[in-house]
């Protein structure tokens, strides 16, 4: 059945005037090829310029437009209105984060967590000379860490994580996946130095491999696997005299 219009119910919140978030409904022209982000852009352009959300690339790679769509954390640019006919489509900010305004969450805590796991190459040779050229790394060695390097920091996994919901200080799925990305890189020799940053708090042990993080990841990253591997490495580190790492 052809639909001419569709309703979007958008969470609105301005701390200066609102006691609590409220939903506001907009009716917009519907087309088959529209994603939720297109709908929000239509509202902002033509109906209500005061609706606030983040977006940029509209191709699922910049990670800006994470939002809750009909209850599930999704990228607004990757979810089609046609999958929610006849509507309404309910759009809310990602849970497990403070809300700054409307759909805009405060991700300061993630930025700190990301930096805390030392997501950079820690090499024996602190600053190898460029003239020495490239490290050799075979396709199989790249494959070791590749999937964990695909994280776009979109925060969907934090929104889905039942541990974060209870323990906000938990380093969390994306940061652990990125720590694992460097741990598994043949150019990296951080060993315990990075592992300690991840297992320093007890929260990682509360993760019971529910796998919500991996299920919502729009890029096929498997943070749950990274968390399990990290726990395993950490346990080895306690049991084995050489620290269990390499």
């Amino acid at each position: 059945m052809a639909t001419d219009t569709i309703q979007l119910s958008v969470a609105r919140y301005d701390p200066a005037v609102d006691q609590a978030p409220r939903q506001q409904t907009y009716e917009i022209p519907y087309q088959d090829d529209m994603v939720v982000l297109d709908a929000l852009n239509w509202i902002k352009t033509h109906l209500d310029g005061s609706v606030n959300y983040r977006w940029s690339c509209r191709m699922g790679i910049c990670g800006s437009c994470g939002m809750k769509v009909n209850g599930t954390p999704r990228l607004g640019c990757s979810v089609f209105l046609r999958d929610y006919l006849p509507g309404p489509v309910v759009v809310e900010p990602l849970p497990n984060f403070p809300v700054i305004r409307d759909l805009v969450i405060d991700m300061t805590s993630f930025m700190e967590k990301l930096a805390s796991v030392k997501p950079w190459i820690i090499s024996h040779d602190r600053a190898p000379a460029l003239a020495a050229g490239e490290h050799r790394q075979t396709p199989a060695q790249v494959e070791q860490y590749r999937q964990f390097s695909m994280c776009i920091n979109c925060m969907l996994c934090y929104a889905a994580c039942p541990v974060i919901a209870i323990e906000p200080h938990f380093v969390g799925p994306a940061a652990i996946a990125l720590a694992r990305r460097y741990d598994l890189d043949s150019r990296d020799h951080a060993g315990q130095e990075r592992l300690r940053t991840v297992t320093g708090s007890d929260a990682i042990w509360d993760c019971s491999f529910i796998g919500e993080c991996s299920a919502v990841c729009p890029k096929g990253v498997d943070p749950a696997k990274a968390i399990q591997q990290t726990k395993f490495e950490s346990t080895l580190g306690m049991l084995l005299p050489w620290g269990g790492f390499r």
Partner: protein, 572 residues
């Protein structure tokens, strides 16, 4: 009550590949300096993230610096400054290795060496890549690497509205933190602009929403010329619906471009290069075929087929997985079994803030790098995979030069800055945020700007079309004067950001149209139907567009610098 003004030695505006590279270079050059990195988005959202195909660099025999330089200069239709190109090609491999040492997951050969792939306009295989997400991996690598430098202080989601230009020197910026909406100054001994291009002035573009040319407009309004703005790159292969980029690597890996007759029509345009011809020529060939009725017809207009079926799923999954994902998601097409529909799409601004090879602008204390800048390597047409090395080479150069500069000058004084902030507060708060008169919507003016640019300033241009675009812009300016926001809140007001971006877009568009109207020749991406030939006698020169408050830009010309390669007919 004296409010302390945050003061930096080096302040980088923009957190994409060029900006982060500049910040790290400054930190490494002078570890005691305090470096600020301001960005209107979190750095990993920057548009570098959408670069796909790869980064050109001379890594090994039999490739040569001369080869990369010649390809770049010929690709530029001889408008590149050849001394700068020579610096660029020598630095590019070092930057690729630096990225490797920082952990970039480059695609590799079975023996572990970095792989290279062919790219348009390059005579040999020299494009290094990370599958078809090269920009994404480079941006995240360099951003994560930057986190280990405590002297780099980030100001995420801070929007810069003007440069502080005092006593003939750039001494910082004024802007606002988007969370508080508080307009404030950031003082600096030197400032680097790395804010990207302004492709969003077009409706059909590969560029993300943030590509509004803010740094170009900031410099322009501060009296710095924008160079060669008429040269706008149209990438041959955009997704017809959204404009999402379909990487040139598809053709690099052996994809065919075919018309409605199933013919590889490039035999009639670039017979020796075919699908690996340069972007300007292939985009013109496609439009010419459309006009001759040989395009395929779809819901989004004429298109061509880009076919990789003969490559097989193994190669596609290993080298072009993102293309398979994007075409599947947005067009419902599996590229293993069906050709991809594509059409030319606005992609990159060759023009930008006038700089030298160290990123210096004519305004002391101000530097620029990346797409927002024009150091002179791209001329009238950039070759694919030359923009990522451009960000790294000139980002690093600007970072080093700005660090050196910062150590030689005194900290800016607070007195003039206080007055400037007051003026800026008035301009923004009275002019936009709190204003309750006016009848024009930000988004609707922006849409009409985009339509005007798509219509009048595209692959082929005429005096009539450009003149009409100029009139359109004048009308849009009038409407802009009557703009009224729906949102008067100070908290994360993206409509306020959008109206200031729109102002920047109007400034950028104006320089493009004025520069294009004045160049009565065809060169590289600037194809005038009324002047189809290149005219070296008159136009072997860069256009410099200077801001004239309330009027049209004033244009000057500067001769191209030629070292070893005399201009020749550009055939492929």
């Amino acid at each position: 009550m004296a409010v302390e003004i945050p003061t930096y030695d080096v302040l980088v505006v923009g957190g994409g590949l060029a900006g982060i590279r500049a910040a790290i270079a400054a930190a490494e050059a002078a570890p005691k300096l305090k470096i600020g990195m301001v960005s209107k988005v979190y750095p990993m959202r920057s548009h570098t993230v959408s670069a796909e195909g790869g980064i050109a660099a001379v890594l090994r025999e039999p490739d040569s610096f001369d080869g990369h330089a010649y390809d770049t200069i010929k690709g530029s239709d001889y408008l590149a400054d050849q001394d700068v190109v020579e610096v660029f090609v020598r630095e590019a491999p070092l930057e690729v290795i630096q990225m490797e040492h920082w952990g970039c997951p480059w695609s590799r050969e079975p023996d572990g060496r970095i792989s290279v792939r062919p790219f348009g306009g390059m005579t040999t295989w020299r494009t290094v890549f990370a599958a078809d997400k090269s920009g994404f991996h480079m941006l995240h690598t360099v951003f994560q690497t930057s986190l280990q430098f405590p002297q780099i202080e980030r100001l995420d989601e801070f929007f810069v509205t003007s440069l502080i230009n005092e006593d003939g020197r750039c001494q910082g910026v004024i802007g606002f933190d988007m969370r508080s909406g508080e307009i404030q100054s950031l003082a600096a001994r030197s400032v680097i602009l790395a804010t990207g291009g302004n492709g969003r002035i077009y409706a059909f573009t590969t560029n993300g929403a943030i590509c509004t040319g803010d740094g170009m407009a900031l410099a322009y309004r501060a009296g710095v010329p924008l160079k060669d703005m008429e040269f706008v790159q149209f990438h041959p292969t955009g997704m017809p619906s959204t404009g999402i980029l379909i990487t040139e690597a598809v053709r690099g890996e052996g994809g065919y471009l075919t018309n409605a007759d199933g013919e590889r029509f490039l035999t009639n345009y670039v017979p020796n290069k075919m699908e690996l011809g340069p972007r300007d020529i292939i985009s013109r060939a496609m439009v010419t075929e459309f006009e001759a009725g040989r395009g395929l017809k779809g819901p989004y207009g004429d298109y061509m087929n880009l076919d990789v079926r003969h490559l097989g799923s193994e190669v596609i999954n290993r080298k072009l997985p993102f293309m398979r994902e994007l075409m599947g998601e947005y067009m419902g097409i599996d590229i293993v079994s069906d050709p991809m529909p594509v059409r030319p799409v606005e992609h990159y601004m060759m023009g930008g803030v006038d700089t030298d090879a160290s990123g210096r602008t004519p305004l002391p204390g101000l530097y620029a790098a990346g797409e927002c800048a024009n150091a002179g390597i791209n001329g009238a047409n950039r070759l694919g995979s030359n923009s990522l090395p451009e960000c790294l080479v000139f980002g690093a150069a600007a970072g080093r030069a700005a660090a050196q500069d910062a150590q030689a000058v005194k900290a800016p004084g607070a007195n003039p800055i206080g007055g400037l902030v007051k003026d800026e507060r008035k301009r923004i708060e009275d002019g936009f945020l709190e204003r309750t008169t006016g009848d024009q919507r930000v988004g609707e003016i922006r849409e009409d700007l985009q339509k005007a640019m798509d219509r009048g300033v595209a692959v082929f241009r005429t005096k009539e079309g450009l003149t009409r675009a100029l009139k359109d812009l004048a009308q849009l300016r009038e409407r802009f004067a009557r703009v009224r926001l729906d949102d008067h809140s100070r908290t994360f007001n993206t409509e306020l950001v959008a109206v200031l971006e729109l102002e920047n877009m109007l400034d950028g568009a104006e320089t493009i149209v004025a520069s294009a109207l004045a160049r009565d020749e065809s060169r590289g991406s600037h194809a005038r139907r009324d002047f189809p030939e290149r005219n070296d006698e008159k136009y072997l020169a860069h256009t410099l567009a200077y801001h004239v408050p309330g009027g049209q830009p004033r244009l000057e010309y500067r001769p191209v610098r030629i070292t070893n390669w005399q201009p020749q007919a550009r055939t492929y």
